[in-house]
Symmetry: C2
Amino acid sequence: MDKIVRVNMSDLTTSIEVVPPEWAGLGGRALTSTIVAGEVVPTCHPLGENNKLVFAPGLLSGTAAANTGRFSAGAKSPLTGTIKESNAGGLAAQMFARLGIKALIIEGLPKEDKWYSLHVNQDGVSIAEETELIGKGNFAVVETLEQRLGKKVGILTIGPAGEMRMLSANISVKDSDSRLRSHGRGGLGAVMGSKRIKFISIDDHDAPGVKLVDPDKFKAAARTLAKAILDHPGTGQGLPTFGTAEMVNIINAAGSLPTRNFTYGQFEGHEDLSGETMREIIIARGGKPKHGCQPGCIIQCSQVYTDEDGTYVTSGFEYETIETMGANACVGNLDLVARADYIMDDIGVDSIETSVTFGVAMEAGVLPFGDGREVLRILKDEIGTGTPLGRILGSGAGNVGKIYGVTRVPVVKNQAIPAYDPRAIKGIGITYATSPMGADHTAGYTIGHNLMGCGGRIIDPLKKDEQVWLSRHLQTGQISIDSVGLCHFVGFPMEDNPEFVPALIDLLNARFGFDLTPAWIGDIGVAILKTERAFNIGAGFTNKHDRLPEFFREPMLPHNAVWDFTDEEIDEFWNF
Amino acid sequence: MDKIVRVNMSDLTTSIEVVPPEWAGLGGRALTSTIVAGEVVPTCHPLGENNKLVFAPGLLSGTAAANTGRFSAGAKSPLTGTIKESNAGGLAAQMFARLGIKALIIEGLPKEDKWYSLHVNQDGVSIAEETELIGKGNFAVVETLEQRLGKKVGILTIGPAGEMRMLSANISVKDSDSRLRSHGRGGLGAVMGSKRIKFISIDDHDAPGVKLVDPDKFKAAARTLAKAILDHPGTGQGLPTFGTAEMVNIINAAGSLPTRNFTYGQFEGHEDLSGETMREIIIARGGKPKHGCQPGCIIQCSQVYTDEDGTYVTSGFEYETIETMGANACVGNLDLVARADYIMDDIGVDSIETSVTFGVAMEAGVLPFGDGREVLRILKDEIGTGTPLGRILGSGAGNVGKIYGVTRVPVVKNQAIPAYDPRAIKGIGITYATSPMGADHTAGYTIGHNLMGCGGRIIDPLKKDEQVWLSRHLQTGQISIDSVGLCHFVGFPMEDNPEFVPALIDLLNARFGFDLTPAWIGDIGVAILKTERAFNIGAGFTNKHDRLPEFFREPMLPHNAVWDFTDEEIDEFWNF
């Protein structure tokens, strides 16, 4: 029997609850957003006792279906003030699902000035005081916990940034190589830090595992789904070969590669940062060009990046980090960006928010554009230790803009805009503007349709036509993906292969005995998008917050593209 | 003929315009808010080229009517994101009025990395490049400009904080003793800094002066108004004797004296900070216990505070600064608070915002509560020079809360709550919540009615009854006061002396040949309040922003008072 596990940090009690019928058909983002919207007062202080931190595996997590191991974390975000869901790979989703835990809800704040850990296993969840690991980086947490609890332990952890309640703090998840994946965006690590939880360990020993109502049907549908993923050129060839860094050259060619704090759309040194270069480097140094973020991944877009001596530097080294640190902050050196990625993982900050923050700090004159050595120093010695400068940079791009009086601040709802300039790829700009999450490329990733013919044709990235429709179509679709526990990138075969959606519906029906039809994809997307929007309205957000920063009206080379949507055109997004 | 003077910093041009008929009956706040609401896009970046900085004297400024020399500054606030009007004493209002300048509107941003000054005289306004005074404190600006332009020059200036576009930066106004009064709230100094204007000098030599349509009627009405001010115990006795610091003991007795970052309502050391103590000290040391902030002031609530050697320390030393630094940050020593006040004036930061910010920083552990020496050091060496810590503290209480993850952050619309805890004086809490300016005691000062029988009876400060009505009544009335150029404190005789309003209307009619009736007071108040609110709605504000911070639900000693208004009760404010 699936269950809800609840932790009250105010009185240090835990409980196990029956899954309410209205939550039975929900998982991942659909479930975290439903719980946060239902139980959290939208106007509460995100770091106060009335916020709740919710974790939920996807509906299909724990099964043998490919790429279904994404784990959702949700809360009111201290960075944006909106509802927030951020999902990650790693081991946690599969372990939670096998333990029958549909959601872990953490509420309240401890009364004493102490730190705690949670331990999740077959019996539910327990709370213990923690002292040894306080102040430690995420890699040390993983190493120590594997010594304490064995190699197989699952881990969710925050670094010093989360302990210090920095607004860019993330929550890291151990992967199968004892490395880290991240619930990166929106400062959820600060919420975990406010609740004084350093880590959550997971033991799925003797877990009941996931029961399938119709195993044969499930197996057949899983095969179809896997084939659709492997047959698609994006998920079957591009991503496994070059990782997400394949986008560097593509986005540079499109003139949408944010450069020098979103001043230009192309970066001279883009070749040095590209997926092609990265692959050559990794192969030459004996790293791993392919790697999965979760067990059961058949795309393998991750990698293990090593230094010249073959020593591990980082993994889960994504395009958005490479771009925002490499081109936007002009640190055009993959080795330096990789080192920065490692430190960001270790101290526990969102690598997108932080890299974009460096671009704003460089514009403010805090350090020169392109000074990668100083970036590394600041990450380690300032942000990692919470000096005043570190506190500033750890609070995200929007706050750095406020503190230094900068006007070129690429944020929406105070969250940093990732590695696609919306002037030259307008569909993604609609996603940035309207997503209830703040600026988030994954919320409705239009790049495939705008540049690569996903969906059967190109929707001209430089024109406004159809972009609102496109973003809405993808935002609702993405919610279904994030709720099932599927990887973001299945969006490509989902759009292009007519067998994908029926197979996905078959999987859900075969797993749970549901009676869903393909209409579920749109239905759950619309329902959850409206739930999330309603939370934000309750928190004080209006259509006036669905806007890109003013500076995007400045023309950007090479296309002299401007952000030219009217308010009315953007607001049309919510007309459904 | 009155005129509008306009400066475009983008192309460094100036122009003189005829007063549009719809602005003819407006002055002070009514005019700055009308211009900002009419000409500034509400969603613009407050430090970007689309914001405008507007200065306007009151309707009666420049006349012989008592206490009519307040000067209004308006813009979109970089601190709050709302429309903002902040008014100050000093010489500027009288000089502008005598020059026939109804408003100075500064728009655009310079293209070059240079600093400028403006010079206002009979011919209008001119722009000059400035180098010598860049980086200098406000007192040095005044001293140098008096050498350059003569003792009689009028001055508006920003300190280093404004140059650095800090969100708590104010705009200072020279008074008749060559000392400073401030447009304190809302970071308007950062707007002036964004436009790269270090100072505005004013020369009213050979100014045409103010013409009265009916001098005899004016004279008679002015006499009635002055008598009403002098006859009232508040403006005629309390304020001239003890200054605004008379409130220390009164608010402490009411249990509403914010102490230790709004944790308690009474401060043990309140006697040491009181107006009574201040008067004794000033007299013993040979300072001035009475002083006017503007020529023509008959209340004289200001003072000149000296050190033990009789050397000038500060003036314009107000209750709200004394309270928030003295009791709320626990620096229970009037000499230290006076020194802090001087430095804040010199570097150019709002002394309320900054003092409340120190309370939050102390809660965050940046420095110990009560460490006045460290306050002085941080003000001078960190905020004044823009170190990272200085940048943080210069960005105001709300941002310090975000950067250090503090939940007890006394702000509304990101502006610091001044020296009256709203749990124990509930009327002022309605003003904080609903004023379009963010938390601002002057916007609708209920203290007289809640504690001192102003209006003929006490409206119980601990009960919710009538507070919404009271705040609305006072907020609309205050707009009329702020538009005429009258001092805030005439609100007392205005409420208590039936001769006051007819005399005020007579003054306006006799000055301009208007045909106003006493209904004007309410009409202008309602109209401007709605104009300001509409701007804020356009900027994305909703009733969800008309809320006090969550922590005011915690009971506060000595009354165990809580902030217990429901959302619906607060929202009733706008039901008119």
